[in-house]
Amino acid sequence: MAAASRGWRRLARPLAVTLLLVVCYGAIITPFASYMRNKPFVEKLGTLPRVEVLRAIAADQKQVVAEGLILDVLMYFGGLLGKEKGKVVVPPDFQAMSRLLHGAVQLDPYNMDAYYFAQAILVWDVDQVKLANNLLDYGMKYRSWDWYLPFFAGFNYGYFLKDYPQAAKYYMKAGELSGNELFINLAGRYLNESGQNDLAIAYLKTMAKGAKNKVMWESLTTRLKALEAMRAIGTARDAFHNATGRLPSSVQQLLYAGYLQEIPKDPYGGTFYLAADGTVKTTSNLAYPVKKKQ
């Protein structure tokens, strides 16, 4: 008993020191964690070394390094979406995101996640359609069996760049690879601009159906909801035009005239309106409002 208590007494000092150090750790960990959380994206990742260097260092682990870069981008983007109830507050650093994705496909040209992310996010939120198409062309050289890549490219050409012959060409390719008649039909329909909204909806549905990631799924379905709302207004406008022979002056007029049950809400927080030529538009421009970081 006495020996045991002597043993404890001998331990008293080291125990006190350890306890003190644990308290110090507790004091420092909260500011440290908050510092790490608020570090800017590029700082967080450091700048990417040249791809040749990265490839040499990665030795036989190139695929893991590539996937790591893509997940960094995804988590960064998901983190931004998560803040302030789904509203992007900090302007995302699209340049850095695009740079990382390009680095990733040079390490692993087969990685579908990179092409998918570039297509689902970069194309819509920044004007990087041509860059995305170059990326897709690069991917098609490797993923020669994959109909998703020409499907994406066809959509970009048709919807964003209004280059219908190119769009049709890529849709044909997607149709050949998938054996799916739908794409061949789409290729034909793409030559008709009036079908654009329907096409965008069909496209987003395909994208969202395969989305296994929650952030990605939410991002796509939000866009899908907005486009479906715009289609509803467009259908009402056409009905109004057919009945009266003139274009409605506003969305409200469609409501009062009974062509709309209610004015659909823009999930991005904007308001739908009719442009002078009757096109359905929204004040949000299909993107969350971006505020500058304080």
């Binding site: 040749e52 490839r55 040499a56 260092i57 030795a59 036989d60 682990q61 190139k62 695929q63 893991v64 996937e67 997940l71 995804l74 692993d108 087969y110 990685n111 579908m112 996640d113 998918y116 992310f117 993923r143 069996w145 994959d146 395969g210 989305a211 296994k212 990631n213 990605m216």
Partner: protein, 263 residues
């Protein structure tokens, strides 16, 4: 020689280094949950992670077992008692090499089996767009083992010239990094953008390319993960390359080891 092979394999199972490295294999069951981070290629990511982990474990085993096996024997003066037996030093050296090589193959087989279970589970929950090509995955694991057997031969060679374990361990790691990048350096030097380099640098890089072991040939990950078809001719050539290159390394190691003075 078979006795030495047997003793080597038995010894490794009792080795603490092996136990430590085996801890890394506990990460394999975590792969199904990590793979779900992927947006569009969950199964492919599970294959990637499994193969990477296997490759990493085999690398550690090859470096540490290969780099310390001979050194430990000499340090503990086991070599004296062993070499007093009626066997040549070459037999002893080869016995050690084949023992560790056999062990690497056994480890690869066991880890490959666990990985196939992991990938099957993931593929069941998240069916991939294209079916998993199992033959490519098994071949990839086998060639990983081959790659590290070649690295093991490098480690054995370093062990015969060194009196400490620093050269075998760090020399082998450097050889692995350089040997994994040599193909890229060679391709770069001979590409149009490599023409800006001075002819001397280009020739030196070419010479090194032919002398150093080429580990990138054994990397079949792309074929395993994405089901890209393999070329039979390339596979056969790579196996021939392994046999000839390892044989050259081992014969040089045997010459040095036979001439070496044991204190």
């Amino acid at each position: 020689m078979f006795d030495i092979v047997r003793i080597t394999v038995k010894g490794i199972f009792r080795d603490r280094v092996f136990h430590g490295i085996l801890m890394a294999a506990l990460l394999l069951p975590l792969i199904p949950s990590i793979s779900q981070l992927s947006m569009r290629q969950v199964t492919e990511l599970s294959v990637t992670l499994s193969l990477s982990l296997i490759s990493f474990i085999l690398l550690l085993l090859a470096v540490f077992l290969g780099g310390t096996s001979l050194w430990k024997d000499m340090e503990r003066r086991y070599t004296f008692s062993v070499l007093s037996l009626p066997i040549t030093r070459t037999t002893y050296l080869l016995g050690r090499f084949f023992g560790v090589a056999l062990f690497l193959l056994i480890t690869a087989a066991v880890l490959g089996f666990v990985a196939s279970v992991v990938v099957t589970i993931v593929a069941g929950n998240f069916p991939p767009d294209r079916p998993v090509v199992w033959n490519n995955i098994y071949l990839c694991v086998l060639f990983d083992a081959f790659k590290y057997i070649l690295l093991l031969a490098v480690a054995v060679l370093f062990s015969t010239v060194s009196t400490s374990f620093f050269l075998p361990i760090f020399g082998t790691i450097s050889a692995f990094l350089v040997g994994s990048a040599s193909q890229q350096v060679y391709d770069y030097v001979h590409s149009s953008s490599g023409q800006v380099l001075s002819p001397l640098v280009r020739q030196a890089a070419t010479a090194l390319y032919y002398v150093l072991p080429n580990f990138s040939a054994f990397d079949l990950k792309v074929n395993a993960i994405y089901g890209v078809p393999l070329s039979t001719g390339g596979i056969v050539l790579t196996v021939c390359y392994l046999v000839v290159y390892a044989a050259v390394l081992l014969s040089v190691a045997a010459i040095i080891f036979s001439k070496r003075e044991m204190k």
